[in-house]
Structures are given as structure tokens and as C-alpha cells.
Symmetry: C2
């Protein structure tokens, strides 16, 4: 292919699309990146279209019609297994949130049913989580102490749950999953690790049987509270706690060694609760300094819609707790659903999950449940127990119903120290040293973001730690935007390829021409930088040319293939570059502008200014054109001399 | 060039650079994009290096040694012209800031001298500005009223000036010019326009001779204050004001028609002041309801370092005023310096300007000056009067010195209404209808950002308007980042070029292969999107293939030429895509990864996973390889059949 002979490939200077077209397409790309109804475009039947849309929004219609007994067998087993985990976890995390333990049991009854209808993950098991429980407690205790006014405190917890649900639903309906994307994996890793440490420290209260404790969550306050109240330490409690903890950790160890025996660790918590309860009942443990959960009322969830309060005096606390936990619960739930779906080569729709989580928390807040999401431990057990569909959540829900109706009082003998052991054991798994080390090895900045979350949570407070990390990650994102990479291109020998000369040192210069590739969108935050950078490339090239005695730069080719968009300030920067280059008698040429960029350059008349003949489809074409005019201008000089 | 015959061009799999190398190079790119000492690398003499460095940081050493009388002639004329503007502007804007008018005159004496030493713009004229004056007044009046405790009020203004200076110096020293880049032109346009409207409305006080007024700056409060105090309106004041305003606007009109007569409008304010003063003196104007400036003390700036106060009770006000005005003054001053430099094909270093502005405000705050920057009107007059170097600022400074020593008392007869007319006339020029219309025509989002600043300033408050606009611009930047463009590539006929099929509809598909170009950095905020987008490209391609009955997709080529960097979450997304593709029996190949991306993919072992043989330098090479293996695998099938 000799470029001299082939007809010049033309740049497509189509008239710019109208604002509405571009806006619509951008809107669609931003909020419907998965194009859910793409395949319905050519569907003529409206009834079928409607059916498809309903099936899309309410996933239960998608899988229930094909459900059969063969699948149910698996779901039954998985459902019973996660129910056995839900009882101890429900009681434990409710204690962590400072609310009556029964609410923890209620929370595993209603929300799983809602999720079954609207949720799109087949493996997610609904339940309460430790981190969010602690955040709720920390936020609401700022306004009301559960010891002083439990009724109000619980009302505020329900209010926070409603707010969480509303936030999640809104995000889902307006397809703002994009916001959750800004909680990066590194942030979540650090945050979870930090929270796990905090929660473990908090369990010192239960392990040592302390009566007095701090409402602060940071590490220093908690340790101070533990050591200040040394007179309250009870060795009996500690001994029992360590025994339970050792048992739980052993079962984890078994699971790690033989993944097939995962069920051993899955049922360990309920065994701990049962054994602990029996022991407490038989040994009258409460008389020996080992506190028990205390009275648990029989019966299903009472309605709590009348307990929701928007009293201006307190609303700030549930508002803060609601918004933060909504985001964290979403980030955690969606990430977990996704990672299990990928193992089975399925896809999870983040926006649908948000709607499901939102509805489940809204309905939950009306039926005496507090915040639920898809916790990692429960979901992993569900997955490993071989669940096939969302039906396992229904099975768990029915188990909980039976528990609430008949067995609840039996759990009132559960020793608090057993709950602390269960929480601590669960938390150990959440500190991901390996992942942090992997981050350190592969990306130092991601590691910093992770550590900011970790140390922020441990030493300042949970919300500050999270904020710190998110802001750091945002600054990084903005730095990416503000300092886009650009590089000088050289010709790879024996080819028509032009590549970064730094990356491919054997790429050769082009006599009299400087080719620069710009990256990323060009706009206000980086346009000054790009202008400086282009001029620096020119300056550097000129100084090299002066050193080598080779000819001056006559042309600069800007490869815009990687520039996805440009704004007004960007175009102005280009105009400035054009003017600066003109004063140096260098001609600017554009190569391969993409559709959005070309449109903006046309509307702003930049193309008119440099001329359509200065825009090329490839660097090769541009160089060919430059060489031609360089030769012809030199030829003219010679001709002039001859005439003289 | 036939790709079948040429040896395969190799991707450079160099060992990744060390973290420190990458970090150093990123740091340099972020903070020293202009590479100021690049040319000193090969300089052996340390003394000469030091000299160069000093010349770089203190620009006066750069131009003063070559200064001569020929240049001075021009600077003298320009200096006298801007001094004639500095006197009325100094008095007017000081009134706007609620401080004694003499401080306005002081502020044109010391800061210009400092700028002459450290400033890098040859055309910038130093002076006070209306917008910042109003912000200072609005912020500090929240804490202290100038009517009740003028001494404290003025002290806080000096403190705010010091804080501004410190912020500017810090930004300059740490080369954080990048922060100012986040104030986009659209924001500044809207903000300036809104502020101009507010300031004009505020002048109703002076024009109507009102005694009582509001301390709020928003449009509604100001209009209410004007109409509530109708009983204070004085027609004499209004008549005189309108006469002055008409005169000033006429001179502007003359300038617009005949740009050569710019000096008519340049000296119009001082004429207004002189004529107004004479009139007030002769007609005893203050007896007829026309207030005058009042006593102005002879003598140069008294020291004010002892008046700086960091009293915790008041500090929040000067802190807020200082930080906001620092940023706005920088954005305005640097943008103006830049735009005039470009007219003369010179370049301005933003970081150096920040240092100069910072030093000038710090020294200013110690010598009874308040915030100064490079105002547009004064700089334009300086430029048009033919200034050659920073020396014109020295001339202005000397003129101000003489004024302060001998003429100050004469200006005490200046009617306030004349000052209002001067301010209003100056403000009319700052509402840039054309620019807003241009934004509307070319970029709707930029227009929204501009309007957010404009309406926010007019109807809420100056700082909220600015914030609103900056946040909107940031959201846009983050959206750019979160939704990078990607496109399907097709082969341009008769070439080896691959381009966006949407942009070049004649580009043809490649049988069994899908080539997708990704844009922008890939990282946590967009990695989920990119994964979805790639899978959607695949799904769409498969459905088209099914419709046409053509063969299935066997390969997907990801063109990474436009991907400038990738983070851990991005790599994880790639892994997910790889797994999803494997389940569909599609092979992933990478084309032209750039140096940073290839390094990250190597460290994280992604390259190991897909194999080096799946990475290519160009799409052509990749297709060649795919075709070869497609053919060979089919050939093998045939062979198997034959054997059977």
C-alpha cells in the first residue's frame, strides 16, 4: 500500500449532530449503560413489550415460572443453613446496634421476602451487617442514649432504616449507580478492615463482661474505656469467651483446609449459641458474672410504621446514619452479589439491586426491622450450600418465622460473651491483609486510599475515615483528568505505525515534523496543562534540532484519536496554541479527531480557522501532505532563485 | 507493505519501571508541567545554574539588566495613564469594601512595587478589584459592622488580605496552580457577570444618596433596601449621578468606535473625579444632599502589621474572605495576564504569578493595603497605552506616592455619587452577554455552569454561587471520567486504518472479530461501566451476527491506544471481562497498550494470564494473528474429520 498512490482517505466532516441528539445519547450512556431494552426495539407487540419490561423490573417473574422441585431441593438445604447463621448473627448485630436482640431476628424475616421478589442476584443472602450496625449506633447515640430512652432510640433506628431505603430506592430509580462506583474497592477494603478492628475492640466489653463503656467508636477511646474499668473485668466471662472463640476459629481453620467442610463453620455459630444457652441455663451463669441476652418475646414482627419520627430535634442523626449506611450497604451488597455472579458467569444489574435493597429497607422499617443488605459471610455460605435461586431466602424467612413463633424464648439464655465471640470471629475474616499487600505491591496510590480509610476509621471515626478515603480517591480521579498523558510519536521501522518514542525507542523521528498524541478529554481542568505541554514538546524538539543541526520543525501533528471530548476552554486552549505556533511559523495539523471532538471544533469554527485541508484521518496521510508542501515550497524557493 | 510478509512488529514488554521512577515522573508532570529547568540539565557551571534559577524565580533580574531609556519612555506614559485610573478606582473600591478611601490609594502604592520584582507579566497593572472588595465586605460585615467598630473592621480586612497572600504564596510555592485550573472560564464569566449586576445594584445607594442600606449582597435584599427607603431618595444626587454615568458611557462608546481613542475612556474617571470635586467645592454640594468622600489624610502608608488579628472570635470571617478572594483574584489575575501575553506571543507562568500575587498581598497587609490583583480594566489600559515592561507599575507607584504626599486632601471633595457612577460604568463592561451566548451556542453544559454562577451570585450569595458552579463543573469532570467513550472499529476501505464505525459508516466489519476502542484512563469510577460496555458491544455484535447468519464472534480486540492509565479496580474489571468472555468462548486480545498500562497489567500478572502472544502493536497485526489461528483451527477440524 503506497500512500502516494492511493486516494487520500477523507475525514468525515458531517454536519454536527443537534444538541438534543448528543444530549440524549449521553444521557443514555450515563444512566442506561447496559441498554436493557435494546432488544425490544424491533418488537411489534406492545403486550409482549410490557411483559418484558415487567420481567426486567421485577426479576421474580423472570425465574419463578421456570422454578421446579429439582431446584427447590438445593434451595431448601441452603435456606436452612443460612437460617442457622441468621439467628446468632441477628441477635449479635442487634446488640452491636444497641437495639433489642429480637429486632435482629425480625430483620431476617421480612426483608428476605422482599428481596426474593425484586432482587436480581441468585446467591445473595439477606441479613444485617456489623459495620452498618455500628455506624447506626455511633450516629444515633450522639443524640439519644439507648440506656436512657430505648423507645426513642429504636424509633430513630427505624427512621434511619427508612431513610436508607429511600436513598437506595431513589438511587436505583434514577439509575445513579454511578455514585456507588465512586466507592472504590480500595476504600471498601480499608473501611471494612478498620471497622472489623473497631468491632473486635468493642467486643472486649462483652468478653470481659463490662458494664460501663464508651459511646465513641475510635480505637483510643475504646481501649481507654476497657482499661479504665479494670475493676469490672470478669475472668469467668473471659474464659468462656476464649473457649467459644477458639472453637469458632477452629471451624474456620477446618473450612480453610477442606473447603468441602464449609458447613462446619457455617453451623458453628448456632452451635455456639445453643451450647452457650444450655450451659447458661444449667449453670445459672448470670450468677457467676456471665450476662445473658434476657427475655425474648414470642411472635412475629409488630408494625413499626407509627414509630417512624421526623422530629426536627433528632432528625440529623438518623439522616446521617441513613445516608452513610445506605451507600455502604449498597457498595457491599452489590460488590458481593457481583463477585458471586461472576463465578457463575452471570451478570448483576447494580441499579436493580439498589431498587431491591431500597424496597426491602423501606418495608423493613415499617415492620420492626433495621438495616439489611447482602452480608459477605451469609452470601458465601448460601453459595457454598448450593443455593440455586432467590428461593433460599424464602426458606430462611420461613425458618425465622417458625423461630419467632415458637423458639424465640429459648434464645434468651444465650450468654452475651458467646455473641461477642461470634462477632469477633466473623470480623477476623474481614481484615484482608493479603489484599492490602497486593495493593501495596501493585498500586501505591490505591494502597494510600485503602490506608486512609483504615486508619481514619480506627483512629478518627467511621464516617471521617470513609470521607477521607473517598476524597483522596476523588483527588486522584481529578488528577488523572487534570494531567492527561501525552507523548511524542515516532515511526516504527518497516511499518506505517506511529508509537510513543519513550515506549518504543527504536521509533524514528520524522524530518521537520513533530507528531504528538494527546490523551483523555480536553477541557477546562487540563486545557492550560495541555497548552503548556504541547509548547514544551515543541521547545524540546527545537532544541534537539538545533543541537543536531537538523532542519527546523515546520509542522506539528496532533493525534486526537484518544481525545474523547473537548469543551469550550479546551477549544480556546487550541486557539492559543495555534497562535503561539503561528508566531514560530509552525503549522498545526489535526489527525483523526473523533466524532464528538470534530463536532465541537466545527461549531466553534476552529476547523474553519485551520482549514479542512489540515485535518487528516491518519498520521501517514498527514505526513504525506506535509512532505508534499515542504518539497513544493522548497521547489518554489529554488525557482525564485533561478528567475533572479 | 503486506502484513503477511513483514515480520510481526513486537510489543515492548520491558520490565516495569520502579515505583519511584514512575512516581517522580508523575510528580514532575503534575507540578512542573513547564519543565522550567529542563535546559539546565547539561549546564556544568553551578554558579551559572544558580543565576538561572534566581532569574527564573525573580523575573526582575530577567528584564532589568536589558532595560533602557527607549523602553522607559513607553512605560512612563502608560504608568501615568494607569495612575490616573488608580486614584478614582482606589477610592471607589475602598468605599465598596467599606473601608476608608485612603486605603484604596495606599493599595496602589506598595503592591505594584512588589509585583514589579516578582511578577512575570509585562502588561499587568496592579490594583484593587470590585468583586473581591464586595466579597470582603460581605464576609466581614457578618461579624463586625464598619459603622459600629471601624478600627476592628479594618483590622479584619488587613487580616483577610494577609490570609489571601499566604494562600496565594503557598499555592505558588507548592505549584498548585492546578487548583486554579478548576475555576473554569465559564464559572468566571458567570461569576463576574453576576457580581457586576450586584455591584451595580449596590451603587443605587450612592446614586440615590441613601443613608440606610442592607449588608446582604443578593439582588432581592438590595432591591428591597432601595425601595423600602424611598423617603431617603435624593433627586439632586440622582441627576448628578446620571450626568456622570452618561459622560463615562459616552467615552466608552468613543473607545469602541475608535479604538485609538482608548485614552479618552482611560482618563474619563479622573476627569469625573476632578470635575465632581470642583463642582462639590464650588456649589457646596454637601448642603444640597450630595455627600462627599470627606477628609483624606496626607502621608504615605502607615505600617499595619500591628493591626493584624487572629482573634478566634472573628477569625472565621477573614479566613473565609481570604481564601475565596485569593482564589478569585488568582483566577482573574492569571487569566488576564495570560490573555494579554498571548496577544504578544509570550507565555505567563501561573505559579510564578501566584508567588508574586502572594508576596504583594502579604507585604500589602503589613503596609495598610487591602487585596490587590491584576484588574482587567487597568491592565487593558496599561497594554493600550503601550507599556513595555513591569516598570509602568513603578511609575504608577511613584505617581501614587506624590498623590499621597501632596494631593490627597484635594480628593476629599469627590462626591460619592461620582464614585458610584465610575463603579457602575466599569461594571457594565463585565457582563459578557456575547460570551454567554457563545457558550449557549457551542456548549450547553458550559452554559449551565456559567448560569449557575450568575444566578447563584445574583440570587443567593457570592460564595454560594461560586461553589454551585464549581461543583457543577466538577460533576461534569467526574462524568467525563465515569463514562469514557468507547466505540466499535471497522476497517476503512483500501487502507490499513481502523476507525469508529459510527463516524465512518463505510468502514467494514471484520469476519468473526470485534474490535473495540476504549478511551480515557480505566479505573475505579468507570471500571464497572467499561465492563458493561464491552459486554454490550459483544452482545450487540452477537445478535447482529445471528440476524445475518454470519459466523459467531471468536475474538475481541481491545484497542488500548487511548487508555492512558489503569488502576487495580480497572485490572479487576478486565479480569471479569476475561472470565465472562471465556464462558462465551471468545478470546480477548489487547492492542497497543501504552507504557503505564502495560506496566500495571504486567505487575498484576494480567499479561501472564492472557499470554504475551495476545498483545499486539496494531489492530492489523492482531487480525492477522486471529485469522491465522481461525484458519488453522478450522483446518484442524477438517483434518480430524478426514482421519475419522
Amino acid at each position: 500500500m503506497s500512500p502516494g498512490l492511493s486516494p487520500p482517505r477523507e475525514v468525515n466532516f458531517a454536519t454536527p449532530r443537534s444538541f438534543l441528539t448528543v444530549f440524549k445519547s449521553n444521557l443514555k450512556e450515563t444512566f442506561f449503560p447496559d441498554d436493557p431494552f435494546g432488544h425490544l426495539k424491533n418488537e411489534p407487540l406492545i403486550s409482549r413489550k410490557a411483559k418484558e419490561v415487567i420481567r426486567y423490573f421485577v426479576p421474580v417473574f423472570d425465574w419463578l415460572p421456570n422454578y421446579n422441585f429439582g431446584l427447590f431441593k438445593y434451595d431448601l438445604l441452603a435456606g436452612i443453613t443460612i437460617a442457622s447463621l441468621a439467628i446468632p448473627q441477628g441477635i449479635s448485630y442487634a446488640k452491636l446496634a444497641g437495639i433489642p436482640p429480637i429486632i435482629g431476628l425480625y430483620s431476617s424475616f421480612v426483608p428476605p421476602l422482599i428481596y426474593t421478589i425484586f432482587g436480581s442476584s441468585k446467591h445473595l443472602a439477606v441479613g444485617t451487617v456489623a459495620a452498618s450496625s455500628l455506624i447506626i449506633a455511633a450516629s444515633i447515640e450522639e443524640k439519644v442514649s439507648p440506656l436512657e430512652n430505648l423507645t426513642l432510640y429504636v424509633s430513630l433506628v427505624f427512621t434511619a432504616t427508612l431513610i436508607s431505603g429511600l436513598v437506595q430506592l431513589t438511587l436505583g430509580v434514577f439509575r445513579l449507580g454511578i455514585l456507588v462506583d465512586f466507592l472504590s474497592h480500595s476504600t471498601i477494603t480499608g473501611f471494612m478492615g478498620g471497622t472489623a478492628i473497631l468491632i473486635c475492640l468493642q467486643q472486649m466489653k462483652g468478653m470481659l463482661g463490662l458494664k460501663h463503656f464508651t459511646t465513641h467508636t475510635d480505637c483510643v477511646s475504646v481501649l481507654r474505656a476497657v482499661f479504665r474499668n479494670r475493676n469490672e473485668w470478669k475472668w469467668q466471662s473471659a474464659v468462656v469467651g476464649i473457649i467459644f472463640l477458639t472453637f469458632l476459629q477452629l471451624t474456620r481453620f477446618v473450612k480453610q483446609k477442606k473447603p468441602k467442610l464449609f458447613w462446619v463453620s457455617a453451623i458453628a455459630p448456632i452451635i455456639t449459641v445453643i451450647v452457650g444457652g444450655l450451659f447458661a441455663y444449667l449453670a445459672h451463669a448470670e450468677k457467676h458474672g456471665i450476662d445473658i441476652v434476657g427475655h425474648l418475646k414470642k411472635g412475629i414482627n409488630p408494625p413499626s410504621i407509627n414509630r417512624i419520627t421526623f422530629d426536627a430535634k433528632y432528625i440529623s442523626a438518623p439522616l446521617k446514619a441513613g445516608v452513610i449506611t445506605a451507600m455502604i450497604a449498597l457498595a457491599e451488597g452489590i460488590a458481593i452479589g457481583r463477585s458471586f455472579a461472576i463465578m457463575k458467569n452471570e451478570q448483576i444489574d447494580g441499579n436493580k439491586e439498589m431498587v431491591a435493597f431500597g424496597l426491602m429497607n423501606i418495608v423493613g422499617s415499617f415492620t420492626s426491622c433495621y438495616l439489611t443488605t447482602g452480608p459477605f459471610s451469609k452470601t458465601a455460605v448460601n453459595f457454598n450450600s448450593g443455593c440455586r435461586t432467590q428461593m433460599s431466602n424464602v426458606v430462611m424467612s420461613i425458618c425465622m418465622l417458625l423461630t419467632l413463633l415458637f423458639l424465640a424464648p429459648l434464645f434468651s439464655y444465650t450468654p452475651l460473651v458467646a455473641l461477642s465471640a461470634i462477632i469477633m470471629s466473623a470480623m477476623f475474616g474481614l481484615v484482608e491483609y493479603d489484599k492490602a499487600y497486593h495493593l501495596y505491591k501493585t498500586d501505591k496510590f490505591d494502597f494510600c486510599i485503602c490506608m486512609a480509610a483504615f486508619f481514619g476509621v480506627v483512629f478518627i471515626s467511621m464516617d471521617m475515615g470513609l470521607m477521607l478515603s473517598v476524597v483522596l480517591a476523588l483527588i486522584r480521579a481529578l488528577l488523572y483528568v487534570a494531567r492527561p498523558a501525552s507523548c511524542k510519536l515516532g515511526k516504527i521501522p518497516d511499518s506505517s505505525l506511529f508509537r510513543d518514542v519513550e515506549q518504543y525507542p527504536n521509533a524514528s523521528n520524522i524530518q521537520g515534523i513533530l507528531a504528538v498524541q494527546l490523551g483523555s478529554p480536553i477541557y477546562y481542568a487540563n486545557s492550560q496543562y495541555i497548552r503548556e505541554r504541547i509548547m514544551r514538546h515543541v521547545k524540546h524538539e527545537q532544541s534537539v534540532a538545533a543541537l543536531n543541526g537538523s532542519g527546523d520543525i515546520e509542522y506539528i501533528l496532533l493525534d486526537l484519536g484518544a481525545v474523547t471530548s473537548i469543551d469550550i476552554t479546551g477549544v480556546e486552549a487550541f486557539l492559543e496554541v495555534l497562535r503561539l505556533l503561528e508566531s514560530k511559523e509552525i503549522k498545526m495539523m489535526l489527525v483523526n479527531p473523533r466524532i464528538g471532538v470534530l463536532e465541537k471544533l466545527t461549531i466553534t469554527k476552529f476547523i474553519e480557522k485551520i482549514g479542512k485541508e489540515s485535518v487528516f484521518l491518519s498520521i501517514e496521510d498527514a505526513i504525506e501532505a506535509c512532505r508534499f508542501s515542504m518539497k513544493s515550497s522548497r521547489g518554489k524557493d529554488v525557482a525564485d532563485v533561478n528567475v533572479a
